[in-house]
Amino acid sequence: MKTALIYDAPSVCKLLNGIVCVYKSAGESFNRVRHSILHKLSQELCELECRVPKQRISVERDEVTRILTVKRYENLADNPLVMGPMYEPNDFKCCSAVRLGIDTAGVLVLGLNSGTKDVYELHRQHPLRVYRISGTFGYMTNNLYKTGKVVDKSSVKHVKRGVFENLLAATEASHQRTMYELCGVDPQSQAAYELAAKGLIRPANTKIPVIYAVKFISFELPNFTIEVHCINEYEAYLKALVHSIGTRLQSYATCTGLQCIRHSYFSLEHALLKKHWNLEEVIRNIQNNKKLMEKNVSLESGLLQSLP
């Protein structure tokens, strides 16, 4: 492996192409994350050695001798004081195929410059996301999240761990059944087996949420935590899922935390914390992600590892 020190901004800027995996905290919108990361990158690029300002060339004639001479002047219109900083947040392309909602924390996959294409390509393969969702039994709010106004309350004593686990297993089974039905095969048939042997059954539509697994993590009344493996989900859907768990247990449940712990190849260990959103870490992250995607060709490798 070759190593080289780079200290000029244009060549550093060329390295900012690819997929960045960042950790988004709850309460921060996607646009705010995007703006703060681009702002920091452009600010640090400006501090590096930028390109040489252009020169102004003028042809001048001496009045007495009538000889034309070519002269070079410093072009002040190219001065950072006049035209603004050399790099601005608007100079970068940055987007994400899956925008986590404002209440969701966790892994956010961003495409930077030419990486925007890769992000959408990844999204077209229907990557699997894993969420860790925590909730509380006993009350319901108007927006189905802890920040809302409490609308109704219920008792929680009758909710037992066994019933709770049964319900989770039933939810998972019913989703699997609908998956086969959407494909038009009987779950008990040979065709269904052959379909399943090919790998995960992925929905053709990118709008309908599909749950592949609901796992039990912890249960201490009135709090509980579950892990959900899903495709095409969105924030409101997950909040409603927690609410439906509550109502099916003759009680109320409210979501208190949503954390995306895995997105296709990327898990929490690959994600950059907010304090690490700088040039050096972002470039290293882009390189690591490239290697990671080359190494794991199959999207399901992550799922198989995490399932016992």
């Binding site: 950790y23 002040l76 004081l81 006049v82 949503l258 954390q259 914390l273």
Partner: protein, 363 residues
């Protein structure tokens, strides 16, 4: 001129919906710019024949001699402007020709920031360096603004060139009469260049407002003005709101309200809802009493996300003891101040890696 025509065309389109008539209106518009031409001569009932023909011949002559009729495609370009079309003055177009702008660049003025200030572009472009600018620079130098601060001064306050020099001198004399030392005046001007735009009477009123509102004595008013010169020229309504938040919503005594102003005047200029949310977290979640907040008001200025992250970490390792009488006490200020490295090694006594791993479990 083009803009005028553009707006008139839009008006005309609203008045007359028919495209054929529209063309006529456009022709009239292009031939003469007076607003009378918006009304078509054929459609006007009260006009007698002679005067109508006269007017027509006049407009014909005008169109032949003065302004050629604008072609429709050219007009369409202005009727449907591009999406990102923004009329902007850009100093980069003038900087190679104008010596004044070149001098400003040498001073270190950020012209691209002035460019965005409304009304400042015309003002700066009309200036002549020797005639208009030099006297202000010598004045600022005499008052004590250091040479390397002049650039940022003009960047933040380009409107100083609008003010009369004698008025500025009067405003400085007022500060001297209020027993501000020359060092204080220098600090006030470098920290808040817009101070000089306010009239003596207005500044006097604002200082009086602080004196009566917070029950300050003379030296204390000067202390606040020098410590944070921006607060004196800040929106009074905002300060009034934050005063209400501190006194009524948070429940500080009037003596404590004054103490907060003397120690951290910034509390009265930050966003009110953020301030109240932060206080709520500090007082109700972390259990820090008012008396402790008064002694460490810096905690009220820390970002809430940072405060929450660090508090939750301390809670997870069982070190969230903010009561000074108990063993293992951690001062709230040491939680929010300093880098993560300092916080982890000196306050929480763990490694930064542990803290980073903890941050990724928060949601």
């Amino acid at each position: 001129m083009i803009l005028q025509i553009f707006t008139r065309v839009i008006c005309a389109r609203k008045i007359i919906g028919c495209p054929f008539q529209n063309k006529l209106v456009l022709k009239c518009l292009s031939s003469s710019v007076s607003s009378k031409s918006l009304v078509l001569p054929e459609n006007e009932p009260g006009l007698d024949l002679q005067s109508a023909t006269q007017q027509q011949s006049e407009t014909q002559i005008q169109s032949d001699t003065y302004v050629p009729a604008l072609r429709e495609d050219v007009l369409n370009k202005y009727i449907k402007p591009k999406k990102n079309y923004l009329p902007l003055i850009n100093f980069a177009a003038y900087v190679n020709k104008s010596t004044t702008l070149q001098e400003f660049v040498k001073l270190g003025v950020n012209l691209h920031i002035i460019e965005l200030t409304r009304g400042a572009q015309e003002l700066i472009l009309k200036l002549n360096f020797d005639r208009d600018v030099k006297k202000y620079l010598t004045f600022l130098h005499d008052v004590g603004v250091p040479a390397d601060e002049l650039g940022s001064f003009i960047t933040r306050n380009p409107f100083i060139f609008k003010e009369d020099l004698d008025d500025l001198q009067v405003r400085i004399n007022y500060l001297e009469s209020m027993a501000f030392t020359p060092e204080n005046i220098t600090r006030i001007l470098t920290k808040n260049p817009r101070w000089l735009l306010f009239k003596t009477q207005s500044i006097d009123e604002r200082l009086g407002y602080f004196q009566s509102k917070f029950k300050l004595i003379g030296p204390e008013v000067r202390h606040v003005a020098v410590r944070m010169p921006k607060i004196v020229t800040y929106k009074q309504r905002h300060i009034e709101e934050n005063y209400f938040a501190v006194k009524e919503e948070m429940g500080f005594e009037s003596g404590e309200v004054k103490e907060l102003l003397l120690q951290k005047p910034k509390i009265y200029t930050i966003n009110r809802s953020n301030l109240v949310a932060r206080f709520d977290y500090l007082h109700n979640t972390m259990g820090i009493p008012h008396s402790q907040l008064i002694s460490q008001p810096g905690t009220l200025l820390c970002r809430q996300s940072k405060l929450k992250e660090r508090h939750e970490f301390l809670k997870s390792i069982g070190k969230d003891i903010f009561d000074p009488t108990k063993p293992g006490y951690i001062s709230p200020l040491s939680v929010v101040a300093g880098t993560d490295q300092y916080f982890c090694t000196k306050v929480a006594k763990t490694s930064v890696e542990t803290y980073n791993r903890f941050l990724k479990t928060l949601c």
